[in-house]
């Protein structure tokens, strides 16, 4: 796009899709904003009236909100830590030459193709169930009391389920990054007297930093809105122990029929997402510059 002419042409051709995307975003956003200032309860249709900041006040002072806020951040952080550490280790493993490499790689990628609802149900009923689950069988075989994961450690269980789904994604990205590392750099470091651990810390990890940044940014977007896994396993409970913001908005607007409060929660969630995004870009955005 060097000349004035080609730049103008590019703008003209881009504009329809940009306008469409803008409308796509602006209309739901402004409707949510509008609803968040109304007293709007589905049980009382036609009684909508201006409510000012009441919805926000109720939502922010609800004890559930702080639980949800904390759970959201713990969920995102926990899954990120597990997937990045696990993804790096799996990537290192898959980068080696071994028999059946192709099949193992496909197997590692497979969880990413399982729908969230399905995988959460499989985990809930086949692994974590305290009576029939695989883990319960193991515990019994060892003579231990089976552990009721979803009741005793609901948030941790959900973190494990979600991390299992996202591990393949992190592994895939980190594996390709590992494969693009110039082997001469590792050999140079070896000649320079670096132990395998030093080589990993000083050569491999810095090389992976950009890929790790990409994984963090992309996963954060999706992890802030985890919903299906919570709905089919714990329903946000016990109490609010596994309720995140997305789930709280759902509870507010569809279980308590309070669309106004739900919308206010949605707006709060948007603000939270933006704070997280700014924070992340400040912290790791420079890794993306070449």
């Amino acid at each position: 796009m060097a000349t004035q002419h080609s730049r103008a042409a590019a703008r003209a051709m881009l504009s329809p899709s940009v306008l469409l995307l803008l409308a796509w975003m602006i209309i739901p956003l402004s409707m949510t904003l509008y609803f968040s200032f109304l007293r709007f309860n589905l049980l009382m249709p036609g009684m909508e009236e201006w409510a000012g900041f009441d919805n926000y006040r109720y939502f922010l002072t609800d004890p559930a909100f702080w639980y949800a806020m904390r759970n959201t951040l713990v969920l995102v952080g926990g899954v990120l830590v597990i997937t990045i550490v696990g993804g790096t280790l799996l990537g290192l493993l898959l980068d080696q030459d071994f028999f059946g490499q192709g099949i193992v790689r496909v197997l590692v990628i497979a969880p990413f193709f399982v729908m969230p609802t399905v995988s959460a149900l499989v985990w809930k009923n086949m692994f974590m169930n305290p009576v029939n689950g695989l883990f319960a069988h193991f515990a019994q075989a060892l003579g231990l009391q089976p552990f009721d994961f979803l009741a005793q450690a609901p948030l941790l269980s959900i973190i494990v389920i979600v991390a299992w789904q996202w591990l393949p994604f992190a592994t895939l990205i980190l594996l390709t990054a590992l494969q693009s590392l110039d082997s001469e750099q590792l050999e140079a470091a070896e000649m320079d007297g670096a132990s395998p651990l030093s080589r990993f810390i000083y050569i491999v990890v810095p090389h992976l930093s950009r890929a790790i940044t990409v994984v963090i940014l992309i996963q954060t977007i999706f992890l802030l809105s985890v919903f299906a896994e919570i709905l089919v396993t714990t329903n946000g409970g016990p109490g609010y122990a596994s309720t995140n913001l997305t789930y709280l908005v759902y509870v507010q607007s569809l279980l308590q029929f309070d669309v106004g409060g739900g919308s206010a929660g949605g707006v709060v969630a948007i603000i939270l997402a933006n704070i997280v995004a700014i924070f992340l870009m400040r912290m790791i955005g420079k890794n993306l510059e070449s």
């Binding site: 050999e187 470091a189 320079d192």
Partner: protein, 334 residues
């Protein structure tokens, strides 16, 4: 110290034998160049010495101690890679300091040695930059800097100049030779460029298909190549080879004569031909002479001022004591 001996060193990748058993002795302080066509196993041989590849059989002795199973870092050698292999996320200073940091030296000692290397190699001006912000020649210097701070007993270079442009290559060639004179450390240098080999080496090792064809000083190889391969590889332009009746006159299967050992005349001489393309370099003129009636076209050198035009008829006479004679196997007949 930096004396390296290879005893019956052999290397095979799977079923492919890249280096058949090979003996070689590199003396302390020597500048040894491995030269040969691409794919002949020069890099592999260098990597065997470095310890980056395991030998399939045989032994590598460094300074009298068997180093065959010693890991690369413990061999006391430093290597400069063809791609330079600089660490892209570290500044020049950190790159050079890296081997010292790994060796656990104190901060002040590291700084002293890095500053010293920066001074020797003139890289003080860009010591805080990242490798991505440097030109090819500067990266090359940093790679050399990273090698010299370790004060190794020998340097290994793998085609270090092949990514540089021609002018820079000449410069760096001089600088590396100068460095060798200053440090007086053993250097093993791999190249496919015979000009680099001739200009830099104390001792040239000519390789073909993993075998050593000849070992000797540049002038030894130029004057008395032990076979046709070495004769054709060393010297630029290439030696002319003549087979058939003309060679039989000299009791040989093939005779070889270098372009610079042919006297050119417009009037009389042993062989007659027609000038094809001539390359005027100013100092010299190289002319390709066709239709000589000999086994192939000939290249001759004339002094730069001689006008040799396309289509001219010329006569060439070989200097009798400069004729190389070879038998059917291509081996030199004394």
């Amino acid at each position: 110290m930096g004396q390296i001996t290879l005893n019956k060193v052999r290397k095979a990748f799977g079923d492919v034998e890249v280096i058949p058993p090979l003996d070689l002795r590199i003396e302390d302080g020597e500048f040894v160049v491995f030269v040969g066509p691409s794919g002949c196993g020069k890099s592999t041989l260098l990597r065997l010495i470095a310890g980056l590849e395991d030998v399939s059989s045989g032994a590598i002795v460094i300074d009298g101690k068997d180093a065959t199973d010693v890991p690369p870092a413990k061999r006391g050698l430093a290597m400069v890679f063809q791609s330079y292999a600089l660490y892209p996320h570290m500044s020049v200073r950190k790159n050079i300091a890296f081997p010292l940091k790994m060796a656990g030296l104190s901060k002040s000692e590291i700084d002293k040695r890095v500053d010293n290397a920066a001074r020797v190699l003139n890289l003080a001006a860009y010591i805080e930059r990242k490798p991505g912000q440097l030109s090819g020649g500067q990266r090359q210097r940093v790679a050399i800097g990273r090698a010299i701070v370790r004060e190794p007993s020998a340097f290994l270079f793998d085609e270090p100049l092949s990514n540089l442009d021609a002018a820079l290559r000449v410069n760096m060639r001089l600088e590396i030779s100068e460095l060798h004179n200053t440090l007086a450390t053993t250097m093993v240098y791999v190249t496919h460029d015979q000009v680099e080999a001739m200009t830099m080496a104390d001792k040239i090792v000519v390789l073909q298909a993993g075998r050593i064809e000849q070992v000797g000083s540049p002038l030894d190889l130029y004057r008395t190549p032990s076979n046709k391969f070495v004769a054709g590889f060393i010297g630029s332009p290439r030696m002319n080879f003549i087979e058939g009746p003309e060679a039989a006159k000299y009791n040989a299967h093939t005779i070889g004569i270098r372009p610079e050992h042919l006297d050119v005349s417009n009037t009389e001489g042993a062989w007659k031909g027609v000038v094809g393309v001539s390359e005027h370099l100013g100092s010299d003129t190289f002319a390709h002479v066709l239709d000589t009636g000999l086994s192939e076209g000939m290249t001759v050198r004339a002094s730069g001022e001689v006008a040799l035009n396309h289509g001219d008829t010329v006569f060439m006479t070989p200097q009798p004591d400069k004729i190389h004679r070879f038998d059917e196997q291509g081996l030199r007949l004394s």
